[in-house]
């Protein structure tokens, strides 16, 4: 009965997609930090400014990586709080497609914006640091665009 009421009163996915986008940004940041910074170690936060081939250089980058992870942790926490508020609203369409689509969208936004600003404009690091600016930086941007388009398509199909 309650579910029926929610669906009948549902008008928008806006609050849900906002929450999902913020969560996606946080999780995109965690993916970057965990996979590229820590497991593969192909770049670190300031690896174009502070070389990582000495103990001190690696540890300095580790500090900045930690601050980066703190930031994406905060983004994820804010996203969870927004999601909590969204699911309590009666005018929100609780769509799995909209939520997963918006998380993909957020992931893509992170890759596109972080890639543009950090890899290309400020050049504080590059995807594959040993090469400097390389095709991998453009692959990173392209992955952002693909994720944004895929996510948006899912969001749009949520109401249909």
């Amino acid at each position: 009965m309650m579910a029926t009421n929610v669906i009948e009163g549902a008008k928008t996915t806006r609050h849900l997609t906002t929450a999902g986008t913020v969560i996606g940004i946080g999780m995109g940041g965690f993916f970057d930090g965990i996979v590229f910074h820590q497991i593969l170690q192909i770049h670190n936060m300031l690896s174009a400014r502070v070389p990582t081939d000495t103990l001190v250089g690696a540890k300095v980058n580790m500090v900045w990586d930690g601050l980066f992870h703190a930031g994406v942790w905060i983004a994820t926490a804010i996203g969870i709080a927004l999601l909590w508020h969204a699911v309590k609203r009666s005018d929100v369409l609780l769509s799995g497609k909209a939520l997963s689509g918006s998380m993909l969208l957020g992931f893509g936004l992170f890759n596109l914006i972080e890639g543009l600003i950090n890899h290309h404009i400020l050049q504080i690091h590059h995807v594959y640091e040993i090469l400097g600016q390389s095709a991998w930086d453009y692959v990173f941007l392209a992955s952002g665009v693909v994720l944004i388009l895929s996510g948006w398509r899912l969001i749009r199909s949520a109401g249909s």
């Binding site: 928008t12 996915t13 806006r14 997609t17 906002t18 986008t21 913020v22 940004i25 936060m45 300031l46 400014r49 502070v50 103990l55 001190v56 250089g57 540890k59 300095v60 500090v63 900045w64 601050l67 980066f68 930031g71 983004a75 918006s102 969208l105 957020g106 936004l109 992170f110 914006i113 972080e114 600003i117 950090n118 400020l122 504080i124 969001i155 749009r156 949520a158 109401g159």
Partner: protein, 87 residues
């Protein structure tokens, strides 16, 4: 379970088992605090720690903070935009 040395302990003479227990529990605690922090914490007293601190909090500290933070307003704007155009 009755503590074997409890009666003796009341008279100010801890039993051997109590002493052993104290060593087992307190030993690692003493060892932990007694160990050189230079090895346990590189952001404390080692030469490496000093170099790391000097590098992190060097003259380009705020420049690095600004560079790190530059993506935040752009991402916030993007989220606002997504919210506005969402169905």
């Amino acid at each position: 379970m009755v503590w074997k040395g409890s009666a003796a302990a009341e008279h100010g003479q801890p039993a051997a088992s109590l002493r052993r227990a104290l060593v087992v529990v307190a030993g690692p605690v003493v060892a932990m605090f007694g160990a050189s922090q230079a090895f346990a914490c590189t952001l404390c007293h080692s030469r490496t720690a000093q170099d790391v601190r000097a590098a992190v909090f060097g003259p380009d500290f705020w420049d690095n903070v600004a560079a790190m933070s530059a993506v935040v307003p752009a991402l916030v704007l993007a989220v606002v935009l997504v919210r506005r155009i969402s169905p």
